[in-house]
Symmetry: C2
Subunit: 261 residues, 2 copies
């Protein structure tokens, strides 16, 4: 019986996917990880399917070369727009965040009415609406393009962000009362406390990070010991480290630059 630890590749356009890595480190602590952040070409949220698929496949190939045995696409936009193309381009098992996110919503909702908030790209793909429809849930989707830059500005608990959240959510909830909101972007978990204040108490917030980690745990035989993590970034290593530490609850070292052009 081998004691080799499984090596899991985690991909995101930037540092947002570190919220998924965070959950993986807790729930699947017997694996090792390689995280790939495509920081030179982020954000993906407003880009086209062809461009996103090309970038994501390049990243997955890089993770494959580094020895990853399984891939987690921790980027909602890439999952929503290009998961089939990514899966077709690799022989490794691939798990995205949309299906686990839909599972989490299905477990929590009682009214079967769910709002998904996400980037423009994710919303216009309707990937969440389709995933939720197969679970008999009536979903609406709302693009919130300013949330990512507000989180990156560090204004996660700021009056301006609260006002923007009111504008987006009042619009999305007009004449409609879902009991669950899915955070369909890996940046949004950092807005949970603020959204909790803005939203009616009866609405539950779910994010796919926890649910994705649970799905990975079910498939991966985990060993004992501390997880080792290596990071790859396509832009500056220093910028990755600085931005990433807002998202990951541990120190980030071991970051290597990789040139994808």
């Amino acid at each position: 019986m081998s004691t080799k630890r499984p090596l899991i590749g985690v991909f995101d356009s930037g540092v947002g996917g570190l919220t998924v890595l965070n959950e993986l480190l807790q729930q699947v602590s017997g694996a090792d990880y390689i995280y790939f952040g495509d920081t030179a070409r982020l954000p993906y949220g407003s880009k086209s399917i062809a461009t996103i698929a090309k970038y994501a496949i390049g990243a997955v190939k890089c993770l494959e070369q580094q020895g990853a045995e399984r891939i987690v696409i921790a980027c909602n936009t890439a999952c929503a727009l290009a998961l089939d193309q990514i899966m077709a381009a690799t022989n490794l098992p691939v798990i995205g965040v949309v299906e686990p996110g839909a599972d989490a919503a299905a477990r929590v909702t009682q009214s079967k009415q769910v709002l998904v908030i996400a980037t423009e790209g994710t919303v216009s793909s309707h990937a969440y609406r389709r995933a939720l429809a197969t679970r008999d849930i009536d979903a609406r989707e709302k693009a919130c393009p300013l949330f990512v830059p507000l989180v990156e500005e560090g204004w996660t608990d700021h009056a301006v962000t609260e006002q923007v959240a009111h504008i987006y959510l009042d619009e999305a909830l007009r004449g409609w009362s879902p009991d669950v909101i899915v955070l369909g972007c890996t940046h949004y978990p950092l807005l949970k406390p603020l959204l909790g204040r803005v939203l009616p108490k009866e609405i539950a917030l779910v994010d796919s990070a926890e649910s994705t980690a649970r799905a990975v745990a079910a498939e991966v035989r985990s060993n004992t010991g501390e997880p080792r993590v290596r990071f790859f970034a396509t832009d500056s290593v220093e910028k990755f480290r600085r931005a990433g530490e807002k998202f990951l609850s541990r120190k980030i070292d071991n970051v290597q630059h990789v040139d994808m052009d």
Copy 2:
């Protein structure tokens, strides 16, 4: 004597540089233009020098191959961080927006105190501060990272944008009274009416688009006739057209996709 019209290549990370093209079309209407928007890899504002230089040089090479005889770098971040590297990589005459922006500020200021607002990348390069110091002007710089996403959301005249502008500018102007603010990002001219309301009346706004076009006009022999414009975009042609028409006061057609990866 040849009647060949000069062909000018204009480069930006996205559609913001169209504010510069707008001025060129008015002031140098006897030239033809090729505009290159690196929309698959925007924004440049938060990326590193090495990445920005590589992207910008690739774009300039593309414009060169398309027959451009002269290059306008209509991207403040690329000028601020990588103008020397760009100039070293091509034999064509290159003009950026920082020097003309500094010239415009120097013409208007009486107190010799100037505030420059720009992206994080432009500010941390201190390119404007240096350019203004050679003109005996005391400059301060303030990064306004939310302005670009707010303009792209279409909130150019929105209460949230006004609040954000107050926060950024109150901070920058505390205990200090410049008489000129330089808009050091090609997206910012769309915020002129809003900034005019937020700022004290005695502060003048200058942007480099008009001044850059004037500098080009001084060097280019212009012919008669209507300018022809072709566009290249690294992301979706349709997205470029849609976003671009907010920035350019004419219809955008003739857009071609180009793959830089």
